[in-house]
Symmetry: C2
Subunit: 310 residues, 2 copies
């Protein structure tokens, strides 16, 4: 029985949402689900969110659903109501329980594709595309990587800092499936001896990681801690993990701010972290050839903020 | 029987390539083929080409396979040998013949996805991803649109003209599946009363359309015709249709050139066209609020060049 659980834990659970199953229906992610004409696969034309479920509780579900809705508005992709997504994810969690055990941590990815060109899946616009949730046990490797210092390289995202404002068709505030450049940047980093990437604008501002947000930290001589993050106006995704940390930090009496961050600001920062929903918090120990100080106590505090928030 | 043919003609034919079927195997594109973990659908992480088959003959197949190979090298995606793609497409054409009739024109899209993360489809790298060809009858609407004047809007692509050179991780010379921005730009154009888009750099250079190349034309007082197109160094896809037109034009004694094209050059051009493998040639009759002259004779000549080349 224990063996069966171990084996099943390696498997992911899929849940499809459609007009006939607004609360979701289970599928096996090892079996084909998508037509090759689905616009997710044809043109990366869809949106997504990745969340963390701990002991069956999805962290900051509302914040992710709100960001998905924002991406949907920017890309003009119709999506099911929040209740559908919540029910589908709950069904997926229940499937793990039925199979004999809920993994302590699951990565929960919800995806909305525009669907098949010219063939809406339903007359109801809220179900006209292709929608699914995928629940995957978090690997030991990812769990162990949390809180560990990483090396990052700064890579030019090609855009200047005003591109987002002047060219809305660039979809800079939406989390779309068109992630080929994000993945290419990560491959570039690994090929050059780094773990991750911080994107910068062509005019020298700091943006975000390909799959994470960036935090700058400072501890003043009187022990006061200040956190800062680049503002969303730069054309980055507002980080849900960063937002959770900031709220808890403010309650703990820390100072927080968002604003333009230059590359010079980055190099002048006392401490730096990348944050993400599943990897949580990674202190940055090196930016290209520059060493960065790491404060284990502060990193633990940030991780604790996320645990507190549930 | 005629009815059966008409009905089937509406259907597309899919051909999958894998290690067990290096020459392809037919599938029904109305049935699911892709897992939701396929990186094409997860992250738009794949590459593609779209070609035109006329009476069962694929135009400029070699040029498309070479460009696919170039995209594969830039994105580090392994692809089957050219012979596999040719055999798979031939199998798809044969399937139409078996069904009772080959449509006079088919759009042939070949796609290579990086596959499922951490689960190569085969030990043989050339078949480690997910590969398919999709053959779809060209609609009457597309056929009728050829040669008809269109209205375009100039949209900023966000990058400056040196981004391609200094930031190879932006994949600017690769034809990836991450086309969400291209589609958003086309939606923007339609919402603002235009048919198509010409992308420009943030520093005022002309790039390409979201799904086409751009040609500038000039007829001198002595009847000599000159064609020009933006050079590939700007970070655009080298157009296979543009290249075919240029070769035939040179044989006809026309002058051709490629080089940097500014927005001012565009507005000063006597004639303009968008070119693509399936839409072929569309004369531009308007750029935003500016009327552009249209020369039906020259457009016919360009279309004729493509027919000659077979």
């Amino acid at each position: 029985m224990a063996e069966r659980f171990d084996e099943d834990a390696l498997h992911a659970v899929g849940v499809r949402i459609d007009a006939e199953h607004p609360e979701g229906i289970i599928f096996d992610p090892h079996q084909p689900q998508l037509r090759v004409t689905d616009l997710s696969a044809v043109r990366g034309d869809g949106i997504f969110e990745t969340m963390l479920a701990v002991q069956g509780h999805v962290r900051k579900f509302s914040a992710h659903l709100e960001r998905l809705q924002r991406s949907a508005a920017i890309t003009d992709i119709a999506i099911p109501p929040h209740a559908s997504w919540r029910a589908a994810v709950e069904l997926g969690l229940e499937e793990f329980r039925t199979r004999g055990g809920l993994p302590d941590e699951l990565a929960v990815r919800i995806t909305a594709s525009r669907g098949v060109d010219g063939e809406p899946a339903s007359d109801d616009p809220a179900y006209s595309g292709t929608y699914w949730a995928l629940l995957t046990p978090v690997s030991e490797k990812v769990k162990k990587s949390r809180g560990r210092p990483i090396s990052v390289t700064l890579l030019d995202r090609g855009y200047d800092s005003t591109a987002s404002e002047r060219a809305p068709w660039l979809l800079l505030g939406a989390k779309t499936l068109s992630y080929a450049v994000n993945m290419a940047a990560l491959r570039w980093a690994v090929a050059h001896g780094h773990d991750d990437v911080i994107f910068t604008t062509s005019d020298g501002y700091v943006l975000e990681g390909p799959v994470s947000s960036i935090l700058l930290g400072h501890r003043t001589s009187d022990g006061q801690v200040q956190l800062m993050t680049p503002s969303a106006e730069a054309g980055i995704l507002p980080g849900t993990t960063q937002a959770t940390i900031f709220r808890a930090a403010e309650q703990a009496g820390w100072k927080t701010s968002a604003g333009p961050v230059t590359i010079a600001d980055l190099h002048a920062a006392q401490f730096l972290w990348l944050t993400g929903s599943v990897k949580l918090v990674s202190p940055i120990g090196r930016i290209d050839d520059h060493e960065v100080a790491v404060d284990a106590e502060l990193t633990s505090a940030l991780l604790e903020f996320l645990t507190q928030s549930g």
